[in-house]
């Protein structure tokens, strides 16, 4: 009996000893692993950030320059003035439309880059509209992501030609005119042609407010 109790005691002491010895080892091992994990992810993130910043330096896109280049390719007369639309008295943009750029050419033409977000694609439809002597002179697509062969029917020349020569006074820019809108809608490209109409209307609207 006494022998047995001695055995138990000795095994207990061994267990206690081994647990007190192993614990710091386990903690150390866990710490080492955590450090290794943090180090690995940090190094990867740093290298990735460095690589991306170098490439960004070479691929940076100057949006303003690209926009001005496109404008000058659409209307070659020299640009003399850039108009800040926020400073036009009484003007506020219509919902889901945006004026990306408004400039005036040397010959008095108004060149407006207007965007409508009502198209089929979330990217919207952005148009360059040239207005001279209160008439729409030229329309060109600046950017879009509409469905090729379907939504792109709204950008066909014959469709744009419906707007060319139209006096800006004929268009009601403050109230949605369903009848006028319907005559510009292209069958099977309803939303895209609607976005084209909205963008042109936004361009005309800003020119009207500027003139007023």
């Amino acid at each position: 009996m006494s022998n047995m109790s001695e055995e138990i005691k000795s095994t207990d002491i061994e267990d206690v000893q081994s647990s007190t010895i192993e614990k710091p080892k386990k903690v150390k091992k866990g710490l080492n692993e955590s450090v290794k994990i943090v180090l690995a992810i940090t190094i990867l993130a740093l290298v990735s950030a460095l690589l991306l910043s170098v490439i960004n330096n070479y691929t940076k896109v100057d949006k303003e320059k690209a926009l001005m280049d496109k404008i000058s390719s659409v209307y070659s007369v020299a640009i003399v003035e850039t108009i800040d639309v926020d400073k036009i008295i009484g003007y506020s943009p219509v919902e889901k439309t945006q004026i990306e750029k408004y400039v005036r050419a040397e010959d008095g033409a108004h060149i407006v880059v207007a965007k409508s977000k009502k198209g089929y694609s979330a990217a919207g439809v952005s148009l360059i509209v040239v207005i001279k002597d209160d008439k729409i002179l030229k329309i060109e697509v600046f950017s879009h992501s509409e469905t090729p062969g379907l939504g792109t029917k709204a950008f066909a020349e014959e469709h744009f030609n419906k707007y060319i020569g139209l006096s800006i006074n004929e268009l009601n820019v403050d109230q949605f005119d369903k009848k006028t809108c319907e005559q510009f809608i292209v069958i099977s490209a309803t939303r895209s042609s609607g976005a084209v109409y909205e963008a042109i209307l936004a361009a005309v609207r800003v020119v009207k407010y500027y003139g007023a």
Binding site: E33, A40, L44, L52, T59, K60, S121, G149, L150
Partner: protein, 216 residues
């Protein structure tokens, strides 16, 4: 494969050919379905998207394979995503700067390459277990297989749906009023995908069966 074992030509060719046919991401593994259905309205979109994925796949596979002993197992997935995200951001930056038209057409699907199942699947199941060169060949094979698949889908959908071939109008088709708009709509995408899945798998299975029989 053991660490010091010499690489044979077969070890490089097999992952490449498997990636194009046997493990074709689009038609055999049915991975990357979202961009496949969304951007194949034009054949050029297919080529653009395919090449972008190939670039990311090759480089991610190479880096993951090279660092497979350095990346701790517990955080391997975040580490792989970080590597894939780096290369997909590079592709996005380069496309935006030099191919703005393609960038606007691919839209959201370009940055979404990060979460493309094909990439994570290959990185996890192949690159993290194999050496650098076979991993590069696997990335190249899978990427080219994906490019070929989605370009073919794009050609079919564009031709039947819009009456154009790589953007060039086929006047005979258009004049006869033959283009069926449904093919460039989502429903048409599913239809073409379904038909191509059946055709591709039937052919590959038949060839595989014939191979097995001849071996026996």
């Amino acid at each position: 494969m053991r660490k010091n074992e010499k690489l044979k030509l077969k070890d490089l060719i097999t992952p490449f050919t498997n990636g194009i046919i046997k493990n074709n991401a689009t038609f055999r593994l049915v991975l990357g379905t979202c961009p496949t259905l969304a951007i194949t309205t034009l054949a050029t979109n297919g080529i653009g998207m395919g090449l972008a994925v190939t670039f990311v796949l090759v480089f991610s596979n190479a880096i993951v394979s090279a660092l497979r002993n350095f990346i701790p197992r517990k955080v391997r997935i975040p580490a792989y995503i970080l590597i894939v995200a780096t290369f997909s951001t590079i592709v996005e930056m380069v496309t935006r700067a030099f191919l703005p038209e393609l960038y606007s057409k691919l839209g959201l699907f370009l940055p979404l390459i990060v979460v493309n199942c094909i990439l994570l699947a290959r990185v996890e199941s192949f690159a993290s277990l194999n050496r650098v060169l076979p991993s590069i060949m696997d990335g190249l094979g899978i990427g080219l297989g994906f490019t070929l698949s989605i370009t073919t889908m794009g050609i079919i959908r564009e031709f039947i749906g819009a009456g154009t071939f790589f953007g060039m109008p086929i006047n005979a088709l258009i004049n006869a009023n033959l283009p069926m708009v449904i093919f460039i709509l989502p429903a048409g995408g599913f239809m073409v995908y379904g038909f191509m899945l059946v055709i591709f798998n039937t052919i590959v299975d038949k060839v595989e069966n014939r191979k097995h029989k001849s071996k026996e």
